[in-house]
């Protein structure tokens, strides 16, 4: 692991990054990928689900943290637990269904049975074959080392020594609260997440979503041609790009005058007094004048809360997406639709259709994204693009806003808020955070060798 990636190549990388450039070889390099799996995905908080997906005792979901199968259950006391979805007897996948409701899980191989707390409660012919010496409780399901929630969002971490989820999210909590606390009953997931496989590298899609409103004017130019988006090429730049701790960040896109044409993102007026009651005046103000919120939690959770539809039929929703890497050139995308539980039923339905039309498997915006993501992968397999000595000047450009834009002290929310979202500040922060983890992992592996 890590062969071909040395401290020297990484120090060149660091230097380039500090000048607003990213060496192209890191995008899909297989050694880098191994370092990412070990050093990033096994160390950071990974989004698994929202509590509304586990409505009652016995509800379960199966999810993945890269290649680790996870079984999430709500036990009889209503608590949510996460286990490695692998029988402790021979390691078989214990539960093969995506979701459902059960009182216990029985492995089809030899029939070992576990309850909703992961306790081994049944071994076929137990005492007769294992004797009384075997302590059943030593063979309970293995819990995922850390499981924590914030406002119903369930995250797990494979690193038992990781900082708490709340500390990790940092000021992102303040922005998440705008969505998750504005309504009395919070948000709910409707339907099930769509899942599909794309030819793409997770870093590039995370960056594309979290940190790149600049692509909107050209990748999604079809919407301009159709009169859905404004023709001003700067239309997605107006607002603030907020760089937060730990590689997280958010773009608050408001329109040229600092106030969207769509008050409260088209959410029904009947809900506005509730928002005012539940949010701080500053959060309420930002919600009332943003057209789009788009951002992400490092490393691989992104979100977008847009206004979508054609004139007269505009709706808002919150879309979460997880980029689950399946290798340096491939990923499985998970896409969730969220809406306020308190929204009128008709609004929820229209908003869901608006989501299908814009993002997700069939979304018209997303369709064109998948094409550019694939092309990034396809260009990154060569001698020139993969050269670690950078002798072909194989670096890509993150110079937008570099040393040009300064944070706007007037922005009322937390974080470093730059006064334009056509700006690579957040992308640079994302890649710097990425590099920090890669360096730490390389050091750890080198110590192991010694």
């Amino acid at each position: 692991m890590g062969r071909g990636v040395t401290k020297k190549t990484l120090s060149v990388l660091k230097e380039k990054l500090s000048k607003g450039m990213l060496p192209q070889w890191v995008v899909t390099d297989p050694d880098i990928y191994e370092l990412e799996v070990q050093g990033i995905f096994a160390k950071t908080w990974q989004f698994l689900a929202h509590e509304s997906e586990l409505p009652e005792p016995g509800s379960f979901l199966t999810r993945w943290i890269v290649n680790d199968p996870v079984l999430l259950v709500r036990n009889q006391n209503g608590e949510i637990k996460a286990f490695l979805n692998s029988c402790t007897h021979r390691g078989t996948i214990l539960c093969a269904a995506d979701h459902g409701n059960k009182r216990a899980f029985t492995c089809p191989y030899h029939g070992w049975t576990f309850n909703l707390d992961g306790e081994l409660i049944g071994i076929i012919a137990g005492d007769k074959i294992y004797g009384e010496a075997m302590v059943k409780s030593e063979w309970n399901l293995r819990p995922i080392p850390r499981l924590e929630s914030y406002r119903g969002m369930i995250f797990a971490n494979l690193d038992p020594n990781a900082m708490s989820l709340e500390e990790y999210l940092g000021d992102m909590k303040w922005y998440f609260d705008i969505f998750f606390t504005r309504s009395d009953n919070g948000m709910e997931v409707i339907g099930v997440p769509q899942r599909w496989v794309a030819k793409a590298n997770w870093k590039m899609t995370a960056e594309n979503f979290n940190a790149d409103p600049y692509h909107v004017q050209y990748t999604h130019r079809s919407t301009v041609e159709m009169g859905i988006s404004p023709s001003d090429p700067l239309y997605a730049s107006y607002g603030h790009q907020v760089v937060l701790q730990n590689g997280h960040g958010i773009n608050v896109i408001t329109g040229k005058e600092g106030r969207s044409r769509f008050q409260y993102q088209t959410l029904p007026e009947s809900m506005w007094p509730m928002f005012k009651r539940n949010l701080s005046p500053v959060q309420d103000d930002i919600l009332s004048r943003a057209t789009v919120f788009v951002g992400g939690v490092f490393p691989n959770l992104s979100f977008v809360s847009p206004v979508h539809g054609t004139e007269g039929n505009l709706h808002n929703y919150l879309n979460f997406r997880l980029w689950r890497p399946l290798g340096p050139e491939k990923m499985e995308i998970w896409s969730w639709f969220f809406i306020d539980k308190d929204a009128p039923q008709e609004y929820k339905e229209e908003s869901y259709r608006g989501y299908l039309g814009s993002f997700g498997t069939s979304g018209t915006l997303e369709q064109d994204d998948t094409e550019t993501w694939a092309r990034m992968v396809e260009a990154n397999r060569g001698i020139m693009t993969r050269d670690k000595d950078l002798s072909y000047n194989n670096v890509v450009n993150y110079l937008m806003g570099f040393e040009l834009l300064q944070p706007d002290p007037a922005f009322p929310g937390p974080g470093e808020a730059y006064p334009s979202t056509y700006n690579d500040s957040l992308a640079r922060s994302l890649h710097e955070t990425w590099l920090k983890y890669i360096l730490a992992e390389l050091e750890r592996q080198e110590e192991e060798v010694e």
């Binding site: 269904a97 997440p193 794309a198 299908l356 018209t364 369709q367 094409e371």
Partner: protein
């Protein structure tokens, strides 16, 4: 069910597939009734006792208006997903035609295998499943009033669902 009718419906579905394969989407829209309901629910892997489509998630839940928007977008100069155009093929088979609630209506079940070849990729993307249609005869011509697409996949193997099925 007369063999003439069966033949007529088969011809209709093959013609539809040809329009889609040759990217004549505006002509394809003409085959849909104005009140068409066009859906593709999200399939899940669930235990035998449960319904794989139970949780009401969709990949597509479209009306004529929203399909028109999708089609019109593909005719712009910036729909990169189809520029350069991928090569696509709809294989339609196992067609079963049953009478509908009136003489001018029938219920049709058909299997599909969709293959798409993009750029220089050696492997074509593939998608399969079954479609449940309601066809109605309007002014002497068959139109699709309802189509529900049940894909075989819990994880969609194509990088997007830009195609119509």
């Amino acid at each position: 069910m007369s063999s003439d009718l069966y033949r007529e419906i088969c011809d209709f579905l093959y013609h539809e597939a040809y329009l889609l394969d040759t990217r004549q989407y505006k002509e394809w829209l003409e085959l849909l009734s104005d009140d068409v309901e066009y859906r593709m629910p999200v399939r899940n892997t669930v235990e035998k006792k449960d319904d794989p489509f139970e949780r009401q998630g969709y990949h597509l839940d479209e009306s004529k208006v929203s399909l028109k928007t999708r089609v019109n977008r593909l005719y712009t100069n910036a729909a990169w997903v189809e520029d350069p155009p991928p090569r696509q093929r709809h294989y339609i088979s196992n067609i079963v035609v049953e009478p509908g609630s009136t003489a001018d209506e029938c219920r049709v079940r058909s299997y599909f295998l969709f293959r798409r070849s993009r750029g220089s990729e050696q492997h074509a993307e593939e998608l399969s499943g079954v479609r449940h249609d309601v066809l109605v005869k309007i002014n002497g011509e068959w139109k699709i009033r309802e189509r529900i697409i049940y894909t075989d996949h819990a994880v969609i193997p194509t990088m997007n669902l830009a195609m119509f099925l």
